[in-house]
Subunit: 345 residues, 2 copies
Amino acid sequence: MTIDIIDKEARNVPTLASIAERVGVSVNTVSRALRAPNTVRVELRRRINAAMEELNYVPNRLAGGLSGTRSDIVGVVVTSLYYSEFASIIDSLQSALLERDLQVMLANTRYNADQELRLVRSILSWRPAAVAIIGVDHPPKVVELLKASGIPIIEMWDTGGDVIDTAVGFDHTQVGAAQADHLIAQGYRRIAFLGSVRENDKRAQKRLSGLEAAAAAAGLPEITKHTAQQGGNPELGERLATELLEHHPEIDAIACNSDVVSFGVLRALKKLGKRVPEDIGVIAFGDNEAAGCVTPSLTTIRPDRERIGKLTAEAIVARINGSEPRITIVDWQLVVRESTQRSTL
Amino acid sequence: MTIDIIDKEARNVPTLASIAERVGVSVNTVSRALRAPNTVRVELRRRINAAMEELNYVPNRLAGGLSGTRSDIVGVVVTSLYYSEFASIIDSLQSALLERDLQVMLANTRYNADQELRLVRSILSWRPAAVAIIGVDHPPKVVELLKASGIPIIEMWDTGGDVIDTAVGFDHTQVGAAQADHLIAQGYRRIAFLGSVRENDKRAQKRLSGLEAAAAAAGLPEITKHTAQQGGNPELGERLATELLEHHPEIDAIACNSDVVSFGVLRALKKLGKRVPEDIGVIAFGDNEAAGCVTPSLTTIRPDRERIGKLTAEAIVARINGSEPRITIVDWQLVVRESTQRSTL
DNA sequence: TGGCACAAAGTGAACGTTAACGCAACGATC
DNA sequence: GATCGTTGCGTTAACGTTCACTTTGTGCCA
């Protein structure tokens, strides 16, 4: 097996020249047979294709990208891959780009600003046709690099801020406000905010500020915040909720930054003997696949990740083809389930 | 904003030559200042770096890859990005590769064999340093292409079959057997298998056959199968479980192909008035983040995705550096929770 | 002072493809 | 029968790096 790979023949990957020599035509003719087949005689084309097939020819896009004008790479920069927060955006984005023969080059910053600069630089070094990146809040140097690159930049997920070029997403402040409004409408008054709010997760911060503003506007007492810097999981939610209620027994509603965290919150409340939604209401954000399957089922905000991915792909193609930059708002949805359904007020 | 981007200055991205001209040295010296800094005088190096910073120079890796021997790309081919099945593998793989300055180029086949061939070809056309791919069962042409490429191929997630070069994962047949053994140990006798088993999801098929073999070995009646071709979600689980129990009321245990599907199974059983684990036991596979938070909490198999990602990265680096191909088994774990804890037998 | 080693920088040729251009052969048009 | 457009292919020159060599400069020792 090893021999196969180290074998000299195997390492001599075929080039256009190999094919050309074998068929007895010029390199350019072989290239044309690939890019513009109808400019080559049918019979010759057939022989060229046969040779390619036989030699397992795979075009070298490094050379193609260097020589040609297009590059066929789309750089995708996300802040997280954990718990499918952005996985389905990538999923639909990638499959929509595939139809245009665009290849995804992925980078994951893990909410680290230094990493973001390094990764954007690394992505740009592949001379992509466009870059899609999560969020609109980037370090100044990142913005400078992206602008200087001269290619379409599509910012995804968030639209609440300065957009570099084109954006597809929604305003997270409004999400926080909607959380507050719903809780208030259900009769909750003492709202707490809980979850993982990393320093570089501007979206989480916007949702929190939207929540605070809406609560203040409704004349509610100040929001109690209990957050952590680390990534969110059920265990974190369980711990934070337990601590929260220990120090603030007056709380009657918890707004959570992610569904996954709130699963742990529900578990903590059960252990503490609190009834949901009667004693305490719980609302979250994200619409995790299990949100409808926990007990009680979880009221949450459902962002349309697949649509964002798809529309981002369309925006990329449109911008590459020269259309104007624009901001596309993708609606989210409040999904009311048991955890806030205090019908017996 | 548009003007910025279409601006001629902006499109003239700086090259090594631009820097060289500005500093007054040869192109090669600038290149060396990047690749082998200690071969360039400190003061000159400082001026070169300053010029790069000022012009926002980003190296062109297309050219670098074409000219040099390394390529710094690792192609990653997954079969799905939905519901974090492989997202956390990619997450840990990517972050481990980052430390070696290797860039991930991502492709998602969505369990489509034709797509797989097309995507592998596309990935290979970027002349990656290595390819990591989910599974060991590929169409013959894919195997041929991968072998002919002469680069390290790391097959992830599954090790139960013919390995092209190097593999990191586990034998899914054994997972199925463990599911059966656990159910049998808990006193269940009439086992059903339920879930999404797509034509190209060989791993799911292996788990099923392991389950069947172990049940047969224990003298149990034949496994009742109720599967679907589409992707798995709670709604599918709910529908399949309802249908299953309608036709097979004798069933006393359900082995499920994914946690997410089994969430729906639990919901269906509750609606049907079946007690879990007393009347029916439920075991699944995947260890979704919510598995411990549903009611009853879910007994499942926990594959160590992060470890697979990390070890795959290590295997890639090792193979690039010339070490021998090998197969690495990454242990999974049976996580026993409430859904099969029939202590009052 | 000649010789040599070594550090620092330059030269020129690749790498595999694409794109602009050139040119021969051929049929159609006036 | 000279002109012209078309088809089908070849020639040549990029694209931006890296790499193997070569050249120049500098200090050191015999």
